[in-house]
């Protein structure tokens, strides 16, 4: 069912733009109001959820470890898999965020004829996820050219490499193919494996369809249905300068692209896509495993009223003295 709802939702969004811009002529709504609202919702919702997470206490040190802990000097400590210091945590976190190291460890268990239970490596998810996220990042960063006149030499280099094969005009970006291929793979993975299909919800399919729609409309716009890039940049520059003017005749494909992107941004804080800030805030990843060296105090510990013997003696000194009990301090 989830797959159906996810698909219908994205198709409905596309039809909504076609109807709204094509039939009703609501260009300002779709080119200015909705994008602003989406970005505002994104930034506020994002910060709100991060603050909410930051407010929840971490009662125990729950670092997940996959290596030898630092202990005696002659036992070799696995720094990255069982970090002991902040720098090691940063190293492990960087590898996780940039290269999805924990997905690399993914394993699967299968019941083979026999019956025999077989455990093995499963690297496809890692590869698919890595291809997807990196190409998404590159495509996303490339879009900054519409919003500033800043010529970033790193981006120029990336674009030159990306269009290395110089196919067609405008030249084909490899990341476009990889992005669509990876989204398709991530989708098929959920559909083809019965176990995964069983646990997949509309909230899993919807972002996949949405991102597929965004990539497909972007690719259509770049390679097949020409749009006036200069006018689009005028609009984008107006938007970031808070002085937007909607050019005439932008072409419905652009509105579809922009609207789906707006929906993605607006939807982000409410969805599982919040794994983006979430990975940084995972206590299992961002804590050093130094339990034995440094005490982790549970912030939820109630404040316990204590009454030391010293204070006790101060309180009852006279009575104790009178009944001849021994005292630590006479006065």
């Amino acid at each position: 069912m989830g797959i159906f709802y996810g698909f219908v939702a994205v198709v409905a969004l596309v039809l909504l733009v076609i109807f709204g811009v094509g039939a009703l002529g609501l260009d300002t709504l779709f080119a200015v109001v909705i994008p602003y609202a989406a970005i505002a919702l994104f930034l506020i919702g994002f910060a709100y959820r991060v603050f909410k997470w930051a407010k929840s206490p971490v009662p125990y040190k729950i670092t997940t470890t996959c290596g030898q802990q630092k202990s005696l000097p002659w036992i070799k400590n696995n720094k990255l898999d069982c970090p002991h210091s902040t720098w090691a945590v940063i190293g492990r976190m960087a590898l996780e965020v940039l290269f999805f190291r924990s997905l690399f460890r993914n394993t699967k268990s299968e019941l083979k004829s026999g019956p025999k239970l077989v455990h093995g490596d499963e690297k496809y998810l890692w590869l698919g996820a890595l291809a997807f996220h990196w190409s998404f990042l590159i495509v996303f960063a490339r879009h900054y050219r519409f919003f500033t006149n800043w010529e970033c030499s790193v981006m120029t280099l990336v674009n030159n490499l990306d269009s290395f094969f110089q196919i067609g005009l405008p030249m084909l970006y490899m990341t476009d193919l990889i992005l669509v291929g990876a989204v398709t793979f991530l989708f098929l993975r959920r559909v083809l494996s019965p176990q995964l299909r069983y646990i997949s919800l509309a909230a899993d399919y919807f972002p996949l369809f949405l991102i597929f729609g965004i990539a497909a409309s972007g690719i259509l716009m770049r390679y097949f249905m020409r749009v006036d890039i200069v006018e689009i940049k005028n609009l984008a520059m107006g938007l970031v300068g808070f002085n937007p003017a909607v050019p005439e005749g932008l072409g419905i494909i652009f509105y579809i692209h922009l609207f789906l992107v707006s929906v993605l941004f607006a939807y982000f804080p409410f969805s599982k896509l919040m794994h983006m800030p979430g990975v940084f805030m995972s206590p299992t990843r961002n804590m050093a495993n130094d339990n034995r060296a440094r005490r982790h105090i549970n912030p939820q510990n109630p404040e316990v009223k204590i009454h030391t013997y010293e204070e006790y003696e101060d309180e009852f000194r006279d009575v104790m003295k009178a009944s001849g009990l021994p005292l630590d301090k006479e006065e």
Partner: protein
């Protein structure tokens, strides 16, 4: 809130990166009023195709010309009754748009594209 220092710094970096165009454009005083103004110097009244098409799709046309010349050996097209050579330098540049800086580059700098055609093809230069 726990670890507030680190979290606020992280969030701030993220928000600044996400809104980079806003404050960068404001800080460098780049006006969103600026619009590229490609200057057309020859008043023939027509291009090799309609202006509206050319604005959006001149790369398609160039690609098509290139394929037809290099692969099929066709050299000429008929534009509004006039026979023209399908040539980047001889037709586009020499016949009409010899002001490459004020024409092609005007848009391309704005849209941040730099076609690699000039690695091989000649661009017109002003002679003193």
């Amino acid at each position: 809130m726990y670890n507030s220092g680190k979290i606020i710094i992280g969030l701030l970096v993220f928000v600044l990166a996400a809104t980079f165009p806003i404050w960068y454009n404001a800080a460098t005083g780049q006006s969103d009023e600026y619009k590229p103004d490609p200057k057309i110097v020859v008043d023939t009244g027509y291009c090799v195709a309609e202006t509206n098409y050319m604005r959006k799709a001149h790369m398609d046309l160039l690609n098509d010309w290139r394929d037809r010349v290099v692969r099929d050996g066709e050299r000429f097209v008929n534009v509004q009754g006039e026979v023209m050579e399908m040539s980047l330098t001889n037709t586009c540049m020499m016949k009409c748009h010899w002001n490459k800086e004020d024409f092609c580059d005007e848009c391309h700098n704005y849209a941040e594209v730099s076609p690699y055609c000039w690695d091989c093809h000649l661009e017109p230069k002003e002679v003193e």
